[in-house]
């Protein structure tokens, strides 16, 4: 760059950015501005388009419309490599490191220092360069340690070091703090501040609003794929940012408290499995939505899987309708009327290559078959038609392949499947992940409807607003343990976060040995 660069100059300017994915308008004429030496927080609910916008800047996605300026000049960013060459580095939400390679090898992948013999890597220089890089960031990571053996926090540091090693002038971090402990977050912020001082513009995508004041200079809010506003952090009230993020009310406000003392349908006592499920006890009542809150990796999914029999618990008791249940496998759980709607619908919940009808009756095919196993297809068809109608699943017909439906409608097909199985207890694991806002509100509506009908629901969600507004009761997990229980009325984001970050064991350094 020959232009004199000063902190505060506009570094990146994105304008009129639109992006459509099949069936979803992910971004609608969005804009974004990043200055030199600032930390710019990008906030919004899941699906607001934050990651998509930044992936366009990083060359991962192509924009359909709009323009991007870097240091005042129009740029085209067709590939991640092009972005790197322009000095734009992104740290993805899912860490993209190679666990079997060393930290140094990961950082310099694609531009290894060569030795005198062609194609031979100069490992010594490689490790030395990494060591110098780590030192300049005051990071305590062994360049020769395999990345798979490092702690998540250390892996993150390796990613940051890697991003900066491209002489990045723009550093995008997609939810870097989601899986870190408080001390690790402090460490991360220390590095971000150091980086900022060097004139790098940092984009910080986050869900944790309490972080904004700590680290960011400005905040841009996005909602439903649209740009809402950019404000100076020091002038902004968190409440105002939240209201901008949420915008129109997509949640059903009226939360019906179940009638007095309904039966406990599920009781879990002292459940243990590995590090992620430790002495977990809770109960679930008829007609209740129980929110299971916590940060990613707190052990919520593991609890659900243990209850559902997908993983066998090491100890503990599960009672269904007051009777001790011996759940050895998902089949046992289904038999007892427990359904699990997994986080990853495509992998665990649905046969996406099959049609809607088949998926709806798949779990209960035996009910539709006679003694020698012939399936009564008239009845399966009628049932499927009825479910599609009742749940308002948007599909051209019940013979449509599930793969071709939108995320929200796929989710409804899973629900239809469990309803057909007369499931009393439904465990929803991140039910609205990856579906658009409209479909979200329909899922919320459906959950409330199911609760009203007397189903007992456990809802696992990482979205605090969602948990807050949907749950009658909330239990919060951290590090495999239940840290607290809140009634729907008393719960706030702050209270949940307090429990969700309550740790007993300090996560010390993990050495490669």
């Amino acid at each position: 760059m020959c232009v004199p660069e000063a902190v505060g100059d506009v570094l990146v300017e994105m304008d009129g950015i639109s992006k459509e994915f099949p069936g979803v308008q992910a971004l609608r004429s969005c804009r974004f501005e990043l200055r030199r030496g600032e930390v710019h927080a990008l906030v919004g609910e899941n699906g607001a388009g934050k990651s998509t916008l930044m992936k366009i800047l990083a060359g991962v996605y192509h924009k359909d419309a709009g323009r991007i300026q870097l240091n005042g000049a129009d740029v085209d960013i067709p590939t991640p490599r092009a972005a790197q060459q322009l000095g734009i580095s992104i740290i993805h939400q899912e860490l993209s490191l190679m666990p079997h390679l060393t930290a140094a090898q990961n950082i310099f992948i694609g531009r290894e220092p060569r030795g005198r013999i062609p194609f031979v890597i100069d490992q010594r220089t490689l490790n030395e360069k990494a060591r110098v890089l780590f030192q300049s960031l005051h990071l305590n990571v062994d360049p020769q340690a395999k990345v798979g053996k490092l702690s998540v926090a250390q892996q993150q540091m390796v990613e940051i070091a890697k991003a900066l090693s491209y002489n990045a002038q723009v550093l995008i971090m997609d939810e870097p703090t989601a899986t870190l402990t408080d001390t690790e977050i402090d460490e991360l912020f220390r590095i971000i501040r150091a980086v900022r001082k060097n004139g790098v513009g940092v984009v910080h995508i986050s869900h944790r609003l309490e972080e904004l004041k700590l680290i960011s200079d400005r905040v841009t809010v996005m909602r439903d794929g649209q740009y809402i506003a950019t404000v100076d952090t020091k002038d902004a009230l968190i409440e105002r940012i939240i209201s901008m993020m949420v915008g129109r009310t997509i949640y059903e406000e009226a939360r019906e408290i179940p009638t007095a003392n309904p039966d406990v349908v599920l009781e879990v006592r002292g459940l243990n499995r590995g590090r992620m499920v430790r002495d977990v006890s809770f109960n679930l009542r008829k007609g209740e939505i129980l929110g299971l809150a916590g940060l990613v990796g707190a052990g919520r999914t593991e609890v659900a899987r243990a209850v559902f029999g997908a993983d066998r618990p090491e100890s503990g008791t599960i009672l269904v309708h007051g009777k001790v249940a011996h759940i050895q496998s998902p089949a046992d759980a289904v038999h007892l009327g427990i359904g699990y709607l997994s986080e990853d619908r495509k992998r665990f919940g649905l046969a996406v290559g099959m049609d809607v009808e088949t998926n709806i009756v798949l779990a209960t095919l035996r009910k539709f078959a006679d003694a020698i196993g012939r399936v009564d297809f008239r009845r399966t068809r009628a049932t499927a038609e009825q479910r599609v109608h009742r749940l308002d699943i948007k599909t051209p017909s019940i013979h449509q392949k599930v793969r071709n439906l939108s995320g929200g409608n796929q989710q409804k097909v899973v629900i239809a499947k469990w309803l057909t199985a007369d499931t009393e207890i439904l465990i929803f694991d991140e039910p609205t992940r990856g579906i658009d806002v409209g479909a979200k509100s329909e899922i919320y509506h459906l959950l409330n409807e199911l609760a009203r009908q007397g189903k007992a629901i456990i809802m696992i969600s990482s979205e605090l607003p969602e948990i807050l507004r949907m749950s009658h009761r909330i239990v919060v997990m951290c590090e495999g343990r239940i840290r607290g229980e809140l009634s729907g009325a008393e719960a706030t984001q702050e209270k949940i976060m307090t429990y969700a970050t309550m740790r007993t064991t300090a996560i010390g350094p993990q050495t490669a040995a």
């Binding site: 694609g110 890597i121 990071l139 305590n140 250390q154 993990q510």
Partner: protein, 335 residues
Amino acid sequence: MKSGPVALPLTRRVRLVRSDAVQRLLAFAALIVIIIVFSLASPNFLQFDNVVGILLATTVNGILALGVTFVIITAGIDLSIGTVMTLSAVMTGTFATVWQLPLPLAIAAGLVTGGLAGLVNGVLIAKLKIPSFIATLGMLNVAKGLALVISGLKPIYFNDTPEFNRAAMGSVVGSAIPGLDIPNITIVFLFAAIIASLVLSKTILGQYTFALGSNEEAARLSGVSVDRWKIAVYTLCGLFSGLAGVLIAARLNSAQPSLGQGYELDAIAAAVIGGTSLSGGEGSILGTVIGAFIISTLTNGLRILSVPQEWQTVVTGGIVIIAVYLDIVRRRRQA
């Protein structure tokens, strides 16, 4: 982070107990046990001639295994190595015997044939995105068919070039150190192993082999030309198959067009026994060499004990299952 790992002086030690090293050590221990058991069971086992027999048996399978180790580390598979080896042998025979071309040219033809087959595999897998299992299964049959067509279903003998077999089965070592008549093709294998080991541990190609198997998407996002390196890996594997073809032709003094299928499984088994992970990202040449020796030693020992051929196959199969299971157990414990 409260404090990082400050254990820099420990690095060496830490790297010695890498997880694939555990399996390698296990494999090595298993090899020693097998040798001890058989030498106790039969006095003929440790006879020099028999040891040479084991070395010879290891050579061809070992070279195939070297190539496929690269492919498996990228989390791919190459099922065509056995019949590509045959096709290479047939090409060498066609050049030398049918067309009467000079022997070095015939050898080059064998190597190039292998390399080309590997290149095609690589393009199919990297560019057309055909799963490696299917692409190389197709190549298995294509190579098998071509070998039969080109040879006219009949073996091609190297009757006009007796020096081919002599060079392979002679012993440079034996002439230097009398009594130590290790055949030259075994020396070729050991050289090939050393080169493969250097390529895997020291070069860009080696590093990207691991990177592809560890997290291909991450490599792509880091700007690595993933497709190109994948093609290079399959081509290299094909080259090793070509070398195996030349060597087996030299050893048998003939190109046998119907031989070869089934060799791929022994080679894959050798790699897996040696600690190369079928899910990618892990493996070593030393491990593969040990794995190849385990298979040939076991087969040889069982033969000496007059165990029927069929049962030898059953035992090798069982060993592979045990090796893979140990790998899974190890992985689970790490997780």
